[in-house]
């Protein structure tokens, strides 16, 4: 139905355009003596004004997007120790970008308006100026040098893993189309694994080496629980195609590559419960639930079930095209206090006890 309505609206718009063209044609003054289909002073003037209108449009769409969608971005409220550094860099870079964008778009469109052609006027013959070229080479060099230095510092601090912090080692295991987590157990050392060792009949689903002593206490789960405040080192593995472990709230992402182990480490700083209480998240949850209630009304009218109320959870999403159900490859992440985490992990089965014989 929506589609049909859309099509009808579009048809009407096309008719409107057709009318506009006719008006344009009728408004044409006699073109005798002029080269056909080449802009006249009238065209120059009209399009010059439209350039200014377009500049206003660009500014307007920028403002509208920031006001309306500006609170959607993940540029605040991060949940990891390194998150704020990335967010600061993002905000500074955005500031630079929008400063440059506002000025250059103004110059471009204003010049297009100001110098719109008139018969008989001659343009300024101005072909070269080394000073100007030097200025707009050096200014970007300085600005970019600053951004590069800041960016690389951030990058190195984010990607560097400090083993002396005694991070919790967790494997993220990707397959079409779900995630598993493997905890290293009491020894905090992951047992050896290879997909060639997968034995579905014995429920060795991640291909752990059954003879490796380190593997015995490993714990495989379908939900990722993390204790708050402790560094985590993720080891990523994939069994079939490329996947990408994307944890936007933690400003973390790394590809999972079959045949190799990749890694990414961070320290979660905000528990799931605390995050749900933050004003930004409260607002987002309210907004989303409002939308879901509206949607549910329509669904109930159609005789279908209403949508569940949304409650926030951190998510691990797949962010590398991986096949048919790529759009639904997700795992919940629960950040909790050390006590809650200990209680949860104690309930999980160790690898040696999970095997079937």
């Amino acid at each position: 139905m929506t589609t049909l309505l859309t099509i009808i609206v579009l048809v009407f718009i096309l008719v409107a355009i057709w009318q506009m063209i006719k008006i344009f044609d009728l408004a044409q003054t006699r073109t005798k003596g002029l080269t056909p289909e080449v802009a006249t002073d009238k065209d120059n003037s009209l399009n010059g004004y439209l350039m200014i209108a377009f500049l206003v449009f660009i500014y307007a769409i920028t403002i509208v997007c920031f006001v309306k969608y500006g609170d959607l971005p993940l540029t605040s409220n991060s949940a990891s120790a390194h998150g704020p550094t990335i967010d600061n860099l993002m905000i500074i870079t955005m500031f630079v970008i929008f400063f440059v964008q506002t000025i250059t778009q103004f110059l471009l469109h204003y010049f297009a308006f100001k110098y719109k052609g008139e018969k008989g006027r001659k343009a300024l013959f101005f072909a070269d100026n080394n000073k100007l070229e030097a200025i707009w080479t050096i200014i970007p060099v300085i600005v970019l040098a600053g951004l590069v230095i800041y960016g690389l510092n951030t990058w190195i601090s984010v990607m560097g893993v400090d083993e002396s912090d005694d991070p919790l080692v967790v494997e993220l295991y990707a397959q079409q189309f779900n995630w598993k987590a493997r905890y290293a157990g009491a020894d905090n050392t992951l047992g050896k694994a290879n997909v060639r060792l997968i034995d579905i009949d014995r429920a060795n689903i991640l291909g752990l080496d059954e003879s490796d002593p380190n593997a015995q206490d490993d714990i495989i789960t379908t939900e990722l629980h993390l204790p708050v405040g402790r560094p985590v080192l993720f080891k990523m593995r994939s069994q079939d195609v490329l996947h990408s472990a994307y944890m936007p709230h933690f400003r973390a992402q790394m590809n999972c590559v079959p045949g190799m182990i990749t890694q990414f480490g961070f320290t979660p700083t905000v528990t799931t419960a605390e995050m749900r209480e933050t004003p930004q998240m409260q607002e987002k949850i309210t907004r989303i639930n409002k939308i879901r209630v509206e949607k549910s009304k329509a669904l109930i009218a159609k005789g279908e079930d209403a949508l569940e109320r949304y409650e926030f959870d951190y998510l691990l999403l797949c962010n590398k095209i991986c096949g048919r159900s790529h759009y639904n490859m997700q795992m919940n992440i629960i950040v909790e206090t050390q006590e809650e985490y200990d209680a949860w992990i104690a309930e999980q089965k160790e690898f040696k006890n999970s095997l079937l014989n």
Binding site: P73, D128, Q239, Y246, P248, I321, Y327
Partner: protein, 598 residues
């Protein structure tokens, strides 16, 4: 120098010699560069329409995910039972849209059309260095296009691993329906395409180096030619690497090798592959893939330089700086590919290096943008449709280019990699910008191609609505990307987290549909003006370059008489001391007149 002169003597003979042409030699297996340019343009237009229709379907799916849609039912058949799109075909639409647009429309279509049309005409040559290779190049392009479109009709579905076709997804038919016959055809098509592109590029390079008319030194060349020339060099350097990646992938797929595959367990069985790495494929792919961005963009920027100068009635500002920035961009483009792979598992130190080289590219890009803007300053701007598209290009190039500073910065890329932020960025900076460049070229050189004028009012409407829709589609997209929405999702409804982005998606889709439909106005203008447009005069835009010294009616060999000689650079607009506001390149210097030390 004497060899040079001999060449021209020979060329002049050739120009006078008219041989009989049949329909087939004139319109189909033509070796005339002007006809080949038109063949490229029409083929690319048709493929472009297909690609746009695919993207419209993607947008409708994203805006109204679960709803049955009569359009899907009509166009997708078994892939949309009861009008609900299948998840596999969504990924196929993504893949084929990207492939057609990047390679067929904006590489083959853009370079193929304008390099062919303009290189001989603007440098003063009778034709390309090898007319025969040029013809072969077009027909390989045509063949690869037919195969690519044909792959849409494969039983198990067309290639659906994204235009980047990363293995193992693209290598294993059991990973995805589209990785069977669909992917085979994709690879075969690309092999032909690359062959076509290499033949074309070699021809462009040789022609520019050897066949310039007397007086046409490299620093008198129009910037279009510089852009086409450097683009061809980048193509020759980087396309073979993609070919090798494609061949190795074919080996992995069909002959059991393990270049890109290792330790794979899929659908309950372990595959024999061992020791390869998908990351190797990513390196090979992006060694072409990133220069490809500039293969798409540089010709558009070259066309813009020419159109802005002509319509501003001013010399392009900073001619030598423009050449230097083209060369700098070309060089840097071959050492930045790793910025597509910051989080691929590549060593983070390499990431630092690529961040550095990537942000360097912003410098020549900034120089180009400022030079474009300064070209307008104190000009006498003639707002022809081509001019509007060129100004539009500068606008989207800046908007899209600036967000590259975020994506090129490895630390920031972690969080926006593969989200809609990327989609917004590259569509603005290379998709829309290159498309605007192509439109600018078409509106500007249509009279040269078809001897008739495009209707300017339709052109104005085409530009303004397209411009508004382009921003309407891609500007909000940055924000849903920053909200963490991954690209290439068939629907977002499995993530309540993204529910508040659904209405943004509807807005984007409405702009996209409208923007897509407006292209019908352009198509109407394009095809109808070919037969009913107003007759063109010899030099409608009062341009200085040599192509406007050829007669409106095409002749084989371009100039009925001798090839004109060149006495000045290509941007003598509004030069003091001349009555007219332009001095064609073939006009000798007046007594006492000095050529600008540009």
């Amino acid at each position: 120098m004497s060899a040079h002169a001999d060449n021209h003597a020979h060329d002049d003979d050739h120009g006078l010699h008219h041989h009989k042409e049949t329909f087939i030699t004139k319109y189909i297996f033509s070796q005339d560069h002007k006809m080949i340019a038109k063949q490229y343009l029409v083929t690319a237009t048709i493929l472009g329409v297909v690609a746009v229709v695919l993207s419209m379907m993607m947008r409708m799916q994203l805006a109204w995910p679960e709803e049955p849609n009569v359009i899907f039912e009509a166009l997708l058949g078994k892939w949309a039972p009861d009008g609900v799109m299948d998840a596999d075909i969504y990924l196929a639409l993504v893949t084929i849209h990207g492939t057609l647009m990047v390679f067929f429309v904006l590489t083959g279509g853009l370079s193929g059309t304008f390099s062919n049309l303009l290189i001989p005409l603007q440098i003063g040559a009778r034709d390309m260095a090898s007319g025969f290779l040029n013809m072969v190049s077009y027909w390989l392009f045509f063949l690869s296009g037919v195969i690519m479109v044909g792959s849409l009709f494969v039983e198990a579905g067309p290639a659906a691993a994204g235009w980047t076709i990363y293995p193992p997804l693209s290598a294993l038919p059991m990973a995805q329906g589209g990785s069977g016959m669909g992917m085979t055809l994709w690879l075969v098509s690309m092999a032909f395409f690359i062959a076509s592109s290499l033949l074309g590029s070699l021809n462009y390079i040789v022609t520019v180096i050897n066949l310039r008319t007397k007086g046409m030194s490299m620093t008198r060349l129009p910037l279009t030619i510089w852009a086409f020339f450097v683009t061809a060099i980048i193509g020759v350097v980087s396309f073979p690497v993609l070919l090798s990646a494609a061949l190795l992938l074919i080996m992995d797929r069909s002959f059991g090798t393990s270049f890109f595959l290792s330790d794979i367990f899929i659908q309950g069985e372990v595959l024999h592959y061992q020791g390869g790495s998908p990351v190797l494929f990513e390196h090979l792919f992006w060694f072409l893939g990133h220069p490809e961005v500039y293969i798409v963009l540089l010709p558009a920027l070259g066309i813009t330089s020419e159109v802005l100068a002509t319509n501003s009635r001013k010399p392009i500002f900073g001619y030598r700086a423009m050449i230097a920035s083209i060369l700098a961009i070309a060089f840097l483009s071959t050492i930045v590919w790793g910025h597509h792979m910051f989080i691929s598992g590549m060593n983070p130190f390499l990431g630092s290096v690529f961040t550095f080289t990537t942000l360097l590219i912003a410098i020549p890009s900034a120089v180009k943008s400022f030079n474009f803007i300064t070209t307008l300053w104190k000009g006498n701007l003639q707002m022809n449709p081509a001019m509007l598209f060129s100004i539009g290009l500068v606008s989207t190039f800046i908007t899209g280019g600036l967000t590259g500073i975020i994506l090129g910065d490895s630390a920031l890329d972690i969080n926006v990699h593969d989200t809609y932020f990327v989609v917004a960025h590259f569509h603005l900076v290379m998709g829309i910008s290159a498309l605007y460049g192509m439109f600018a070229g078409i509106y500007h050189w249509y009279p040269k191609m078809f001897g008739r004028m495009l209707n300017k009012n339709l052109g104005y409407i085409h530009f303004w609505i397209t411009a508004i829709c382009a921003y309407g589609v891609f500007f909000p997209m940055h924000f849903i990307g920053m909200a963490g929405l991954p690209r290439r999702y068939y629907t977002n409804s499995n993530f309540p987290l993204f529910d508040d982005l659904a209405n943004v998606n509807v807005v984007i889709t409405l702009f996209a549909l409208f923007g897509g439909l407006v292209q019908l106005i352009y198509l109407y203008n394009f095809f109808v003006s070919m037969f009913y447009g107003k007759k063109a005069v010899m030099n409608p835009w009062k341009s200085t370059t040599l192509e406007w010294t050829t007669p409106v009616e095409h002749v084989h060999g371009n100039w009925p008489g001798a090839i004109p000689h060149v006495y000045r650079w290509s941007y003598d607009y509004s030069k003091p001391g001349h009555d007219e506001d332009f001095v064609p390149q073939n006009v000798p210097l007046m007594e006492g007149e000095e050529e600008l030390q540009h």
